[in-house]
Amino acid sequence: MVEGAVISVRGLSKSFGKTKVLNNINFDVYKGETIAIIGPSGVGKSTMLRCLINLEKADAGSILIDGEYLVRNGHYENERTCRKICSQMGMVFQSFHLFPHLTVLDNLIYAPKYVNREDEASAKKRADEILRKVGLADRKESMPSQLSGGQQQRIAIARALMMNPEILLFDEPTSSLDPLLKNEVLSVMRQLAEEKMTMLVVTHEMGFAKEVADRVLFVSEDGIIADDSPDKIFNLPSNPIIKEFICSIKAV
């Protein structure tokens, strides 16, 4: 494993039935990095991300989070240890998954209050600050259904931030939003990147990958076929698959 990496993945493999989705994936993430994970649909980008936070079980390989093994050569730690390791990470989903029966404020304070046993007053105070940061301080009494998609996703980011994560995982956070709403979410993510939050972002937003990411992982059916700076990936793609993918996007 590499010294100083907050996430190290080695030989990660995963199949759904007979379909091999991930085959021998290796990469490292360093503290404060923003990593964009790009590539064609259906090559396991989301599955890769979900393995990191234990929403999917890897069949083989190792995942090391901040010096602790979540899975070592295909063997998982017990559920409690896994939960503890994963508590350092937050996740933002494509379809937000806010709790629809709770107000925005309750969506934010429920996990600090019931999981971390933080007292309600302090959780509420932090919620106010974080809501201000994502530009939704005036919506804390709203129900999720009263918000636009972009607002819901910003609340989802705020909810993840409430748990003070070391690492944030984003699974296509803007894919279900129209261009206008995408921007309000991307600008929050950009702000987080500037604050040196460690982020892994599965995305089809090439603009974001190009401008904000420190590093781009290009995933194809053969696994991670490029792990390089955005400049090199976008301007000097070495691999024909990447070249084709980049060109097809530029053509749009």
């Binding site: 939960r83 998954h97 993840a160």
Partner: protein, 214 residues
């Protein structure tokens, strides 16, 4: 037929309310939590328990409630040494019967809570119990509220089935009055009781649906 006669019947029937209302509340108090617990087992993955539960639900939904009343009053003492009183037999039959229906209603509600809710709860660190209590059950109850209202209203009227065990609930009393007085107005009066009860329940559930709307 005059108004004071109707009022006097209304008063006489109220003697039967303790059975009708009592059966209603006892059934609700026990069958709803029981149905809730069973619904979680039903969506779980334990094969043998699933089979047993499936059999129980089939039995309860597959036979008339009247037959189940007969069984718990007359039949049970033949297979075991337990002889229940008429009303206790009725209570047991109703709880077991309604729990089966509530189990299926709640199961439907649980399947209506999206997988994403469980995932969001998991990545925030909620335990399974916390996820169920704080996230899943509130949403499931909201989804199932209209069906639960339906069951409650059906139960109001089903309480009249215990007439077959010669329990003096309101319909049985009405029948007796009809026979004694040779006048069928008592049936109209008993209908008013059921209509009042179902009206109140309808309003209650309308209020709950609004309150828990999201």
């Amino acid at each position: 037929m005059n108004f004071s006669y109707l009022v006097s019947i209304f008063g006489q029937l109220s003697d039967g309310l303790k059975f009708t209302v009592g059966l209603f509340f006892v059934t609700i108090i026990f069958s709803v939590p029981l149905g809730l617990v069973l619904s979680f087992i039903r969506v779980g993955s334990h094969k043998i328990i699933q089979r047993i539960l499936g059999g129980y639900i089939w039995l309860m939904r597959g036979t008339p409630l009247i037959l189940q009343l007969y069984f718990f009053y007359y039949g049970l003492s033949l297979v075991t040494s337990i002889q229940l009183s008429r009303f206790n037999a009725a209570i047991v039959a109703f709880i077991l019967n309604y729990a089966a229906y509530f189990c299926e209603i709640f199961r439907g509600g649980l399947l209506g809570v999206s997988k994403g809710q469980y995932e969001a709860a998991k990545v925030l660190g909620f335990s399974t119990l916390q996820t169920n209590v704080r996230i899943v059950i509130p949403q499931m109850l909201r989804i199932t509220l209209p069906s639960v209202a339906n069951e409650f209203i059906t139960l109001v009227k089903d309480t009249s089935l215990i007439t077959v065990l010669a329990i003096d609930e309101i319909l049985n009393l009405a029948k007796k009055i009809v026979n004694t007085d040779v006048n069928i107005s008592a049936y109209a009066v008993v209908a008013v009781y059921y209509l009042i009860a179902t009206f109140l329940l309808t309003k209650l559930f309308e209020y709950l649906e609004k309150k828990f709307a999201y």
